[in-house]
Amino acid sequence: MADDPLIIAGREFGSRLILGTGGADNLAVLERALLAAQTELTTVAIRRMDTGSRSGVLDVLARHGIEPLPNTAGCRTAAEAVLTAQLGAEALQTSWVKLEVIADDRTLLPEPIELLDAAEQLVDHGFTVLPYTNDDPVLARRLADAGCAAVMPLGSPIGTGLGIRNPHNIEMIVAQATVPVVLDAGIGTASEAAQAMELGCDAVLLATAVTRAEDPPRMAEAMRLAVQAGRHARLAGRIPQRFWAQASSPHRESYSAS
C-alpha cells in the first residue's frame, strides 16, 4: 500500500506491521519471519553485554535495511526507563524509543504513573517516544498531550495471545487520537491483527504471535496480509450491523408454477 503510508513523527513507513524480535528460537528463523512480514521497523531490547558475546540480531537487521527500535523492556521505574532509553539511543544512534515501564512480572502491565513520568522526561530530552500503554483512553490522551509521537495500547497482556479484550476502549483511543495508534501486545492470530486495523489502529506491533508460532515465517505472512486486509476494510467503510436480514437479491416476482 505505497499510497497509504504509516507516518510517525514525520517518517513514512510502507508497512503497518511492526514485528518485535523477541522469542525466536534462532536468528535464521527470525530473519525469514522478518522478511515474510515485510516489516520496516522492529524492536530490540537493551541488555548487558557478556565477554565476547554478540547476539547478531543487529547484523540481520542491517542486512535487510530494517530499522531497529530500542525498547525499555523490563524497566519498573521512570529512572530505569530513561537511562535504558539513553543507552539504546547511544548504542543504536537513534532518538526513537519504544517506552515500556511495567508494574510486575506476572501481568507485565504498564505502570501508568512511572510511564507518564518517563515519557515526559524523554520528550524533554528530545526523544521520539512510542509508549506501550494500557488500553485506557485517558492515559493514552495524557501520553499524547505529553508529546509522545504515537500511543501503543495493549490488546491484552504481553505474550498471552488473548487478542483484543476491550475493543471499545481501543475505538475510544482511536476516536480521540492526535497521534498514530499502534496496537501493541496480546495479538494471538491473524484475525485479531485484522480486527485492530478495523477498529482504526494505524499499525500493529507483535512478536510472540509470530516468533512462537509453529511456523513463524508463515504466521508472519498471515499477519502481513491480515494487517493489510484490516486496513482496507477500515478505509472501505463497513456496513452497519442490522438486527433483521436484508435481501441482497432483487425481490422475486410471483409467477405461477403451473
Binding site: G20, T21, G22, G23, A24, L30, T43, V44, A45, I46, R47, R48, M49, D50, T51, G52, R54, S55, V57, L58, P68, L69, P70, N71, A73, L83, Q86, L87, G88, A89, E90, A91, L92, K98, E100, A207
Partner: protein
C-alpha cells in the same frame, strides 16, 4: 583498584579508562553503549574517561526482544 563491570568485580590498574574495560570485553564496533555510575558516556569519550575506584560500569548491547 576494583571497579564493578556489569555486576562483576574487576581488578584494574590505577588510571584505567572506560576504553580499557571495553577493549577487554572485546567490544564490537557498533551497537554498544556504556553507563558510568548511571550516566551514559558517549563512545567518543571512552578513552578520555578514567575510572574512579569503586566505579560501576554497565556495558550494554541490543538483543532480541520486544
Amino acid at each position: 583498584m576494583t571497579v564493578t563491570v556489569n555486576g562483576q568485580p574487576w581488578d584494574l590498574p590505577d588510571g584505567a579508562t572506560l576504553a580499557d574495560v571495553l577493549h577487554r570485553l572485546g567490544t564490537p564496533p557498533r551497537g554498544v553503549a556504556v553507563a558510568l555510575d548511571g550516566a551514559v558516556v558517549p563512545r567518543a569519550r571512552w578513552a578520555g574517561t578514567p575510572l574512579p575506584a569503586g566505579a560501576s560500569v554497565d556495558v550494554v548491547t541490543a538483543v532480541q526482544g520486544g
